[in-house]
Symmetry: C2
Subunit: 224 residues, 2 copies
């Protein structure tokens, strides 16, 4: 018989995180605040996507943004220019946001008077996928320059996301990216995933994503 | 007084890793095997860069490649077609290679009869930067579509790397990427970093990187 506790660090951390995420989710449902966890590789276009999404939604909803980065506040400055409420979260070297960090970020920013909050996660296709932060929806961006093989290499991200935005379609002519194949590979992992090819820089394809997002917010508000 | 041990997981893990990395490095120096740790975001062009680098070096050196991925073996298949020795490492969900995983990969592949080994790390700008694997040189790729602001957001990667390859210069005309600014930002973090803009797909700029690499291998061989 063991006379000591065996502490399975990673499993325990993830179990603790799931409990914290459930608390965040339940608390936001009570307040009717819709949280989106936005994830992608570095440079796939999270901030540009947010800017255009905010522009499309801000007459309908009161929006807040939490910008998570290992360092710097360049994205928070950019978002602040839109006039929405924004907070910069530094993850202290951590490569992803967890539920407890999200809760502290929400407490610090304040959720009163907000309808929709976007969490721009750290640019990383691996670790953020493992960590439920308590969001209503998980949205990931795959950008055309990254290649259509990413679902094969980073399967968890595509498995856990509600939406895959295929961004930077405006530069598709100079890349060898197979849209059908990317969608097929993502749907093999996650048949329910919604796929929207778009250009956050130019605006092409954006309407379908915004329509889906508005509809999701409204459906969610009826249920909570 | 405490009657139990306090185990600082992360610090202990990193201290253990440094010791393991020192062992890997010392063992490879004895065998005169030059190990390159190749790191980048997903889709920045690690495999394409490796293919062209192998083509340029394989008449001079006997080359091995370790392909690290969370899942899949697509890159190992591509590399195997070049005829060099290659092994696929699955990281079991881990978002980066550590020194112990590298040691086990080297043991499994075998280093006898090799002069140069490339470790293609997991696509990630955060975690691989924290983990010394015992390589002679650390090489990171920033691709043009990711943007020139990445040194601000992921500073550690730029701080610990010996080389920054700025890849995909062939598509620079369709992106708003400031080469001087990217280099300035990287050098503010790491004045010694070598910067080579190139296109691994088309070959532009590749000669300077290959010349630097060959020279580094020869200098290293004289010292060890």
């Amino acid at each position: 018989m063991r006379n000591f506790e065996v502490y399975e660090t990673k499993e325990r951390v993830l179990a603790d995180n799931d409990a914290a995420a459930a608390e965040v989710r339940s608390s936001l449902e009570k307040k009717k605040v819709f949280l989106v966890n936005l994830m992608s590789s570095p440079g796939a276009g999270k901030t540009t996507t947010l800017l255009r999404t905010i522009a499309a939604l801000k007459d309908t909803y009161r929006i807040g943004v939490m910008e998570a980065d290992v360092d710097s506040d360049v994205d928070a400055r950019t978002i602040a220019d839109t006039g929405v409420r924004v907070i910069q979260l530094h993850t202290g070297g951590s490569c992803h946001m967890d539920a407890d960090m999200t809760k502290r970020g929400l407490d610090e920013m304040g959720t009163d008077g907000l309808d929709v909050i976007f969490l721009e996660n750290v640019g990383n296709l691996v670790c953020p996928a493992e960590c439920d932060v308590g969001a209503a929806k998980r949205v990931m961006i795959l950008s055309v320059p990254e290649g259509d093989d990413k679902p094969l290499k980073y399967p968890l991200m595509f498995s856990v996301s509600d939406v895959m935005l295929i961004n930077k379609i405006d530069v598709a002519p100079v890349f060898d990216f197979n849209f059908e194949l990317a969608e097929k590979r993502a749907k093999e992992l996650n048949p329910e995933i919604q796929v929207f090819p778009l250009s956050s820089l130019k605006g092409d394809g954006f309407d379908a994503w915004i329509a889906w997002l508005k509809n999701s917010i409204e459906e969610w508000r009826k249920q909570v």
